[in-house]
């Protein structure tokens, strides 16, 4: 067994008296699709910002891709991929320029950028659109391109923050094909979503309630544990017990 890609032990973030994330302890092994769920305000964003090296925790310990979350935050940023629905690509740059920009940011050499971008354009069937502005692409393609540039540097882990929000049902499923494909290549996927059917596609799910990880298991075990038929009901049971809202 190789070392887990994410390891946390009592990871905590406080803002004054408010404990946004409390004593999170979990591990995510390589190649796993890990669903990170919780109601609005449960502490998901706080936890993700710490894991991405953006926020320093208040206490506890954690490593991401083998790097320490306190002292090696720059290394974490270089060794993870990140994609959110809200911010992904520069709309006033072309498809190729976006690929080149992200690859450059992640420290790829010019030769690597050339090779990678060609492979990517081919894989996404976007060769003809290479010189088009991203703003002219349909949303579904943008999402796929966005995901692909987030993993262009072949990170050990990619964080996806509601990657499929507002996307049409067919594109949403195509997007999950990309997720599975990445996981099969050994990239660990850490994903948040409000679509409960997508929770079923994850190997394991954690559900945060009021800053605490209230449940963590495979979808089928969670359904058995809570005696219900769907992840939607598991989520509702847990989220209803929440005391705080955002």
């Amino acid at each position: 067994m190789s070392a887990p890609v994410i390891y946390t032990n009592k990871l905590t973030k406080r803002f004054g008296d408010f404990v946004a994330a409390k004593e999170l302890s979990f591990e995510v092994p390589a190649g796993e699709i890990f669903g990170f769920l919780g109601a609005n305000g449960a502490g998901k964003t706080t936890a993700m910002r710490m894991l991405c090296g953006l926020w320093v925790p208040s206490s506890g310990e954690a490593t991401v891709a083998g790097f320490d979350i306190y002292h090696e935050r720059e290394k974490i940023k270089r060794n993870i991929g990140y994609m959110s629905q809200k911010f992904s690509l520069y709309e006033d740059l072309t498809v190729f320029e976006n690929i080149k920009f992200y690859a450059g940011i992640y420290g790829l050499t010019n030769a690597q950028i050339k090779e990678k971008s060609q492979a990517l354009l081919h894989q996404l069937d976007l060769e003809k659109e290479s010189g088009h502005l991203v703003s002219s692409l349909p949303l579904g393609w943008r999402q796929k391109l966005s995901f692909s540039v987030a993993v262009i540097h072949e990170p050990r882990i990619v964080f996806l923050d509601e990657p499929t929000g507002g996307v049409d049902p067919v594109t949403r499923r195509q997007f999950w094909d990309l997720i599975y494909d990445a996981a099969n290549k050994g990239i660990t996927v850490f994903v948040t979503t409000h679509y409960m059917d997508e929770a079923e596609y994850c190997d394991r799910i954690s559900i945060m309630v009021d800053g605490v990880i209230e449940a963590l298991d495979s979808p089928s075990n969670l359904k058995t544990k809570y005696g219900v038929d769907s992840m939607d009901e598991v989520f509702r049971q847990l989220a209803r017990s929440a005391k705080r809202s955002e």
Partner: protein, 312 residues
């Protein structure tokens, strides 16, 4: 209550077609859902109906008033909650509400009954600046502000986007209560599972209406026998099904994949099960299921070739 006749709207000198020849009617007292993904044209339609945008062609009336000629009348008789939070962040909760009431020539007191159920939940924070509210509270305040002049028609543009499953449910319960008070509501959402909470829905994609009916009517019109299938290796199953000749469609739907056969005979499903077992699938389960709105949306979307997304 709302009549839309052949509305077309383009942007960027006609290059971007946001709405193509849209026609639909919403009855008085109806809770009508506009269901579709980002970029479908939902917001453009809302902006035309609320007189914030002019259509290229076509006509529309709201509460009997023309969306172009009678724009002032419409503004008095509708409430609009845009998708983007648009209240004054540096006013308090109460100040925002009072501002909207004053603008419409009324007071909070006069129409308090209408918003009471909702406002009571944010009243403890009435002296807090709106910018400091949580997302859920902002949403409730925005709804109160859209209601304070007792509109005949309420337009809600994606009120539940990015909202968790539990809060979404609560929001829909609020809408049900407003509808019971006689307000006509047009609401848009990208979440297909919310469709069943509407009286009637329009499925919209790329500026075109795919279907308009009751949720039951839409699922009844699916017209094919749909099966759910699962095995212990779901992703492998999806790929194997895509390569199986007898399968017409296969899509991931949570715990089960939803599939249709090219022809429905017992023999075909038995052959499929044998085939999948030979490929190493275990714990196979195949059962006939009722289609959901999302199944219908996918079918309608893929049947209209011009709307197809490019495959990976």
């Amino acid at each position: 209550m709302i009549q839309i006749n052949h509305i077309t709207k383009t942007y960027n000198k006609g290059i971007v077609r946001a709405l193509s020849d849209i026609s639909l009617n919403v009855e008085r007292g109806e809770l009508f859902g506009l269901i579709g993904p980002d970029g479908a044209g939902k917001t453009s339609l809302f902006r035309i109906l609320t007189t914030l945008l002019l259509p290229d062609s076509g006509t529309a009336t709201v509460a009997g008033f023309d969306c172009v000629k009678d724009y002032k009348k419409i503004r008095e008789s509708v409430g609009y909650m845009p998708g983007k939070f648009s209240l004054y962040q540096d006013l308090t909760v109460e100040e925002n509400l009072s501002f909207f009431a004053t603008i419409f020539g009324t007071t909070i007191k006069e129409n308090y009954e209408l918003i009471k159920d909702i406002y009571i939940q944010i009243e403890p924070f009435k002296n807090r600046r709106t910018g400091q509210l949580s997302g859920g509270m902002k949403q409730k305040l925005a709804l109160c502000c859209a209601l304070i002049h007792k509109p005949e028609v309420l337009f809600l543009d994606e009120p539940t986007t990015g909202v968790d499953a539990v809060s979404r449910k609560e929001f829909w319960e609020m809408l049900k209560r407003l509808k019971d008070q006689g307000i006509t509501i047009m609401v848009s959402t990208p979440y297909m599972d919310e469709a069943s909470l509407c009286d009637r829905i329009a499925l919209i994609q790329s500026g075109t209406i795919l279907s308009i009916d009751t949720p039951e009517g839409i699922t009844k019109a699916y017209g094919e026998i749909l099966f759910g299938i699962k095995s212990s290796k779901m992703y492998q199953l999806l790929q194997d099904l895509r390569n199986s000749p007898g399968i017409a469609s296969s899509y991931a739907f949570g715990e089960y994949l939803h599939i249709t056969f090219k022809s429905n005979t017992n023999k075909i499903s038995e052959e499929l099960m044998t085939h999948l077992q030979s490929l190493g699938h275990t714990n196979l389960d195949l059962k006939e299921i009722e289609p959901t709105i999302e199944d219908c949306f996918i079918k309608l979307m893929t049947n209209t070739s011009s709307l197809q997304t490019k495959p990976i």
